[in-house]
């Protein structure tokens, strides 16, 4: 059968040709891109020979610096130093984690952030055939190699010239290569971003549906000078304005729902339009229009317990346990996982400001440590009720200094946890890399992390139905500061009301019974 393989290949060729034809330049014809290229840096130099400002633009973004100053409290964030409840932290694991850096070669502090040729254009602009392998500090495979190490599996050398000649716009796939896989696997972190969006059906996401609008990430996250708007650290939680007209100059975040739909988007039913539009004063669009996350068949991690990591099977070897669907729920390297699919979000007031527990924050280990805190409350004009994923972790901390610790895990050496299963060594190495004081005494502490839910927008027919919040134990059961008909109501009033009705009923029944009795007695 020539069948499927050939058809697929033809399809890919036609599609690539098509996407190339949409532009005014066919990169395949450029002399500069004929190669051969020995390294990613060589390709970048070729790109920069025409796109002279591109590298400098990229270098001004968080995709490059992995640094970010939180406008909420001035704290220094960014992937470089931030903590989470998943893989915990980047430091000491750079060669592994930096496969998601838009650069080549960041494996330790010696990385030169001013070298333009270190910018990786292909990470975002490839249209296939290009993978930055974890462990290679952002490089793809330049020659055939065993990967992952000691796995017996091999990856072929990257055809850099071919990839360079077929560059294009960013796509769900290129963005997703990193943003789907945060936390060490498909769908792990976000819950509303995973590889199911690459071929999304309409039910999963109306905007990104392959058979529908087929949006790329950049259709909403419209970048200017390589600065991609829309961040989960400083979000636009409320955008009470009409839609932006094409070409309109605006300082507004172009990634909000309202930037296209406006803040009063409901029109269809006279009975409901006004009422639904009034809901936008209280609710984020996402609250109703994303009925659940992890809906595409890829589970997200709702919990991760590092304290159980390091167990061996009867042969003394690390092992994995899987659930009925074949998803890993225990891994000797990582501990126990709680997975979730089709998860109903939690809801909370959120004004876009988030603050973080960082490596030097003193924690209270007697309670669940909030790795991040979403701010805002009822009455705050910038706050709306948002759907969120609440993740529960259990991770190492320094018992004496009362700080969360970053373990060295991922790059093969004598201290990495995934290769030695030795917490003291891994934590000491991690602390050395982050530069934080480490007493040598550690334990595990419960942590919590909040993730905003904003992708996987369902078709309007599947929006959250009224009764799901307007009921006693509905989705908004725990949200304070609003009166929700069907959920609230003075219990005293209801009790008094029903008692009054009951008394009236009893009264008339007794009255009626007396009439009947006296009537027959009088006979």
């Amino acid at each position: 059968m020539i069948g499927r393989g050939a058809a697929c290949a033809l399809g890919v060729v036609l599609w690539m040709a098509g996407s190339a034809l949409a532009a005014t330049a066919d990169h395949g014809k450029f002399e500069e891109l004929q190669g051969p290229f020995a390294s990613g840096e060589d390709v970048t130099r070729a790109c920069l020979s025409c796109h002279t400002e591109a590298a400098r633009q990229v270098m001004a973004t968080r995709h490059w610096t992995w640094e970010y100053e939180n406008p909420a409290d001035g704290s220094k964030l960014g992937k470089k130093t931030m903590l989470n409840g998943f893989c915990i932290g980047d430091r000491s694991n750079e060669a592994f984690c930096q496969s998601c850096h838009v650069g080549y070669g960041w494996e330790d502090d010696s990385f030169d952030f001013s070298a333009e040729e270190k910018v990786d254009c292909l990470a975002c602009h490839n249209t296939g055939g290009y993978t930055k392998l974890s462990g290679l500090a952002g490089h793809p495979a330049y020659e055939r190699m065993e990967w992952p190490p000691q796995s017996g599996k091999f990856v072929e050398a990257t055809d850099l010239a071919r990839v360079a000649q077929h560059v294009g716009s960013t796509s769900r796939k290129t963005c997703g290569t990193c943003h789907y896989y945060g936390g060490g696997g498909d769908g792990v972190k976000h819950g509303d971003l995973d590889s199911s969006l690459n071929a999304a059906p309409r039910e999963l996401d109306v905007h990104m549906a392959q058979d529908g609008l087929n949006f790329a990430c950049s259709d909403c996250h419209q970048a200017e000078e390589h600065k991609v708007p829309g961040s989960r650290i400083a979000m636009t939680a409320a955008d009470p304005h009409g839609p932006l007209v094409r070409g309109q100059k605006s300082e507004r975040n172009p990634a909000t729902c309202q930037s296209c739909h406006g803040d009063k988007p409901h029109k269809e039913s006279l009975l409901h339009a006004g009422r639904l539009n009034a809901h936008t004063d209280t609710l984020a669009c996402q609250a109703c229009h994303i009925p659940g996350f992890a809906r595409g068949g890829v589970p997200t991690k709702m919990g991760w317990d590092w304290s159980t990591a390091g167990r061996m099977d009867q042969n003394g070897k690390p092992f994995q346990k899987k659930d009925d669907k074949g998803h890993v729920i225990y891994d000797s390297r990582k501990g126990d996982f709680v997975l979730g699919e089709n998860v109903v979000p939690d809801y909370l007031w959120f004004n876009g400001k988030v603050t973080y527990t960082t490596a030097d924050t003193r924690i209270d280990p007697s309670a669940e440590v909030a790795i991040n805190t979403f701010h805002g409350g009822p009455g705050d004009p910038d706050a709306r009720i948002w759907p969120v994923k609440i993740f529960h972790g259990r991770q190492p901390y320094d018992v004496e200094h009362r700080t969360l610790l970053v373990p060295h895990t991922a790059t093969p050496d004598d201290t990495a946890f995934w290769y030695n299963f030795d917490w003291p060594k891994a934590l000491a190495a991690g602390a050395a890399a982050t530069g934080q004081p480490y007493s040598g005494k550690f334990d595990f502490v419960a942590t919590r992390m909040i993730w905003p839910i904003t992708h996987m927008v369902a078709p309007k027919e599947q929006a959250v139905a009224c009764h799901e919040c307007h009921s006693r134990d509905g989705r908004l059961a725990g949200v304070e500061g609003i009166y929700v008909p069907g959920r609230d109501g003075l219990p005293l009033l209801h009790t008094a009301g029903w008692l009054a009705a009951l008394a009236a009923l009893a009264g008339v029944l007794i009255h009626g019974a007396l009439r009947i009795l006296t009537h027959y007695r009088g006979k």
Partner: protein
């Protein structure tokens, strides 16, 4: 039914009045059903449908009232609701005592005075207290979406509106229960209801305890029909 009806019949409720009463009855019962569901008392239609129905019924009732107010004033029937305290004590005594003894109804109903003093007071309370509570709160509730445009949200809370509306609804429920029961207190159990359906009510001869004492047996008692 009975050609040689010995009692005098009076035409108490005109056609529009009967139409008004029964359509209002249906609308109010339906509004109670949907309203208490919206308040979270139980589940029946589902919240969304309940709100839709409640809203549509509210509009229907408003239209009905517009016509009815017009009718009340063009026909002068509004005078029927002018309250009086005369004979109220007699009415109270009758319901509390006389009715069990087979005493005659102290109020003599005529086409011009169709409501007894207690009724007048009850309807006045309904019109002056319950209705305003329900309608004012209900309209604020209905137009909640526009509060922001007129700055209403600066001085009013949805919770107060909902509380007032629910309180009004309970008052209406109590009225409804008592009202339905009192329809059975005519000279026969179904006399009042029949009057509200046909418009005609048998006029009860005054001061005949023997006869009125039997009224509870109802229309289906052949022994009663045609008795002087």
């Amino acid at each position: 039914m009975n050609e040689h009806r010995p009692v005098r019949r009076i035409y108490v409720f005109k056609r529009y009045e009967r139409f008004w009463h029964w359509s209002q009855a249906v609308l109010i019962v339906f509004m109670m059903l949907t309203g208490f569901e919206i308040a979270g008392a139980y589940e029946n239609f589902g919240f969304r449908r309940a709100v839709e129905y409640h809203t549509l019924t509210a509009w229907a009732l408003l239209v009905l009232w517009a016509f009815t107010i017009f009718w009340q004033f063009t026909t002068g029937e509004w005078r029927q609701y002018i309250p009086t305290l005369k004979k109220v004590d007699a009415m109270v005594r009758y319901y509390a005592w006389g009715i069990f003894r087979g005493a005659p109804h102290p109020y003599h109903k005529t086409a011009l005075k169709k409501h007894n003093p207690l009724q007048r007071l009850a309807y006045l309370a309904l019109l002056a207290v319950v209705s305003p509570v329900i309608w004012v709160s209900g309209l604020f509730y209905l137009f909640y979406a526009w509060w922001g445009d007129y700055g209403v949200d600066r001085w009013l809370e949805l919770e107060w509106v909902a509380t007032a509306h629910t309180a009004g609804a309970f008052m209406m429920l109590v009225f409804f229960i008592v009202h339905v029961y009192l329809t059975t207190t005519g000279h026969t159990v179904f006399a009042h209801i029949k009057a509200m359906i046909t418009g005609w009510e048998d006029e009860e001869p005054e001061g005949d305890p023997a006869r009125s004492g039997r009224s509870l047996q109802g229309d289906d008692d052949p022994a009663r029909i045609g008795m002087p």
